[in-house]
């Protein structure tokens, strides 16, 4: 069964460092998303991406963040100059349509710890 793959599963970094979180969406999906979830809290939308550009972003997604689709399969989230409060689980998701009837599929997440 097709699935969304995220790497790494865990990332530990020092405050101020840059991290890149990687995602391989389901191959025929056109819409891609990043979310984060601080431990015990609700899921927060960061950004959606379609046709090689950002289609929507939240207030959380400031200049510290960027997304890229460097090739036909990968979708990355870059966090520049990480802060302690960036520690969270980051989820990538993809969908065939713009959240149409086919639904949205999530990866297993990357647990980011900023020390």
């Amino acid at each position: 069964e097709p699935e969304v793959t995220q790497t790494p599963s865990h990332q530990v970094t020092q405050m101020g460092q840059e991290v890149i979180l990687r995602c391989v969406p389901i191959s025929n999906h056109l819409y891609f998303y990043w979310y984060r979830q601080i431990l015990g809290q609700k899921v927060e939308f960061l950004v959606s991406f379609y046709n090689n550009e950002i289609s929507e972003k939240s207030e959380i997604f400031d200049d510290q963040f960027s997304v890229e689709r460097p090739d036909g399969s990968n979708f990355t989230l870059k966090i520049r100059s990480t802060k302690l409060e960036d520690s969270a689980m980051y989820f990538c998701a993809s969908s065939e349509e713009s959240l149409g009837a086919s639904g949205m599929f999530f990866g297993s997440g990357t647990q980011l710890s900023v020390l």
Binding site: V43, F45, S48, S108
Partner: protein, 105 residues
Amino acid sequence: GIQVEQSPPDLILQEGANSTLRCNFSDSVNNLQWFHQNPWGQLINLFYIPSGTKQNGRLSATTVATERYSLLYISSSQTTDSGVYFCAVKRGVTFGTGTRLQVTL
């Protein structure tokens, strides 16, 4: 922005019991999804249900968009149903506060 509140926040059931989870939203929406986050953190899409009723096995969902709520029904609950249930609106941009369900033997 739109507010999405879920109730109850926590629910403990014995295996075999039925339950209803509620999602209220503060503004009109044209799409709504239900997700289950299992105890290992995996998010699984359950339903895309902007309106009407859908069923999938022991789960069913109903959205009454004009009254700004959606319901998720779980029948004959099993321990594997444990986890957190989220509704999300606005094309997945806004998640609800979640209902944490624990099903016991």
